[in-house]
């Protein structure tokens, strides 16, 4: 090789080195921002996944018995109460685990239906991410025993790392504090809460069929003449109309006003409930979407079929061959008439506490024809699942915060 060719080679090498260096620098810079972009995207995605877990938990909670939920399907609370035991997965493990194959060690706090435990492993979303969700009791109570209907739910969104990026999973951990709402958990086919009442029992064709408790119940949250008026109305009625129950009337004030459902007797709470009901309930007729909360604010006549929780106000007639499974809650003043062959399987609650409306807190009930009210505990409980849990708080948890 001649001396001249050597210089040419050197020059070409220098130029190539300069260009290669510039290209490499550009590549590294682009890679850095690409990684940054992917990281941001993955973090956002994991946040969305975690939020999905919270939303799923909100839908599952009304269908769960909290005490059973806290201990899991095997009925024994086994989780060691150390570290971040409320988390579905500890933060350190969440960063390095394989979310596709990871299974939670204990079933405590995992919802289940029958023999099937849900969310034992991560819920696989379409975009390649996963979320893990777990319930735990609120810190004011024992981990395995609930009384206030409040639970914490923690949801972990996990997104596996993209190729050529950092090796760790992208994770977001959210916590929501939810309160299960079951204010209409009746024990008797007919329950009354008001300052006073007017009752008409016409004929001998109707039937009031109780469960384990009395066919008629009063819940007296304040001064009331209701019990006396009800007893007076029952004078002379044959016992078979009430399935020959040993006791026709029972005062259930204590069990209602000392439980989690006591808030419904507070005028502010009941007013809030009535004001927000239209946003959550359907108006008549219910759509075929399966929603089970129906609100009739202006009363009316019902003769069809309905499953779920029926909240009515004003003057309401349940007539003809009406078939209602669940709970009928009659709010405020106004009247409720049951006649013809109407059947309510579940329970009826007429609720008009003092202070709810201007004027006398009076309720009016008229039962006639061959109408029947048959207490069914399962239908009553199923009607409660139509009520969404109340979200009391929501927060993002960072690793240094979790306990």
């Amino acid at each position: 090789m001649s001396e001249k060719n050597g210089w040419v080679l050197l020059t070409v090498l220098v130029i190539m080195t300069v260009f290669a260096g510039a290209a490499m620098g550009l590549h590294l810079q682009m890679k850095r921002y690409w990684e940054l972009d992917r990281n941001v995207e993955a973090q956002m995605y994991s946040s969305v996944l975690a939020e999905n877990g919270i939303i799923l938990a909100r839908h599952l909670l009304p269908h769960q018995e909290i005490d059973e939920l806290l201990s899991g399907r095997n009925g024994a609370f086994e989780t060691p109460l150390s570290g971040a035991w409320r988390n579905p997965v500890p933060p350190a493990a969440a960063a390095v685990m394989d979310p596709a194959s990871h299974q939670l060690e204990y079933d405590d706090g995992l919802p289940f239906f029958g023999a099937q435990t849900l969310l034992r492993s991560g819920y696989a979303a379409d975009g390649g991410g996963f979320f893990f969700t777990k319930f735990s009791n609120n810190p004011e109570e024992a981990p395995d025993r609930d009384e206030d209907g409040i639970v914490l739910v923690r949801s972990l969104g996990v997104v596996p790392p993209a190729r050529f990026t950092r090796p760790d999973n992208h994770t977001t951990l959210l916590e929501a504090r939810l309160r299960q709402e079951r204010p209409f958990l009746l024990k008797s086919p007919l329950t009354f809460s008001a300052g006073s009442g007017e009752f008409q029992w016409s004929g001998e064709g109707f039937r009031i069929v109780p469960g384990d408790d009395a066919p008629l119940a009063v819940v007296l949250a304040g001064p009331s003449e209701l019990r006396e008026q009800l007893e007076e109305s029952l004078q002379g009625l044959p016992g078979f109309l009430f399935s020959d129950a040993v006791s026709l009337l029972e005062d259930q004030t204590e069990s209602f006003t000392e439980g989690p459902g006591r808030r419904i007797f507070e005028p502010a709470d009941l007013t809030h409930f009535r004001a927000n009901l239209p946003h959550y309930a359907e108006s008549f007729p219910p759509a075929a979407s399966g929603r089970c909360l129906l609100h009739l604010p202006n009363g009316g006549s019902l003769s069809g079929e309905f499953d779920g929780l029926l909240v009515v106000e004003g003057d309401v007639r349940i007539v003809g061959d009406a078939r209602i499974r669940g709970v009928v809650a009659h709010l405020g003043s106004g009247s409720l008439e049951l006649s013809d062959r109407a059947v309510v399987r579940g329970g009826i609650w007429m609720l008009n506490p003092s202070g709810l409306e201007q004027g006398a807190a009076t309720i009016r009930l008229a039962v006639s024809g061959q109408a029947s009210v048959v207490y069914d505990r399962d239908e009553v409980r199923r009607a409660q699942t139509c009520l969404p849990p109340t979200m009391l708080s929501w927060r993002i948890l960072f690793p240094e915060m979790t306990q």
């Binding site: 946040s47 009520l387 009391l392």
Partner: protein
Amino acid sequence: MPGRRLSCAIQCTSAEALSPGRRRRRRAGTAPGAFPQEMAGDRDGVPVDRRSGFSLVEALWAAFLGSALLVLILVSTTRLQTHFNDLTRTLEGEGNVRQAPLLLYRLASPAGCRWSAGLDVAPDGTVSIRADIDGNAGFPDGSLDSSFERIDIRKKDDAIQVRSGAGTFQPVFRYISEFHPESPRPDRLEIRLGGGLMDPALSESFQKELAFSFLLTLWNRTDTLFLRGEPTP
């Protein structure tokens, strides 16, 4: 003059003009004119290959092409550098702007987590977020004692600045041309965000605006069917 070589076409004929070295070579028998036809001697009589070197035309061409190549390289390098700078700034700007929603979401979404006032958008566009998300036992305790429980966000110049706790505003993102927060409802925070890559220093093809808006729903402040009724500790 085709065929003429410029390197040395002069034959030395004057013995008087010869240097002592040349005289030695001449005494050695290397007489003038004894070179092969293609060879010529320099003034010292050293044989020179007439076929080597450049003709004038070649030299001119070489100079022209060399200059053109140099100009080309300079222009290319300058353009490459400009594009490199533009691309770098674009990447940086986009990276900044695209990170902003994530950070703002993380900062703002716990607003009013529990028992605290929550969210306020001042007329000057400063967003104040108060979120009781932590406490000594790891749960909200009713006090905003951690710095990340009191966050203020604002835009100043082309940067989004964040202040946590009692600290001072610190720039977090640059290249922000628009930051317009609004809270039309207690449970909503809407932020219109614009990325400012409209710098005159950038090439025209790289000047673009990354504008978007995002709507943040503050779950803890949404309507509920039942009153929350949580006690204030």
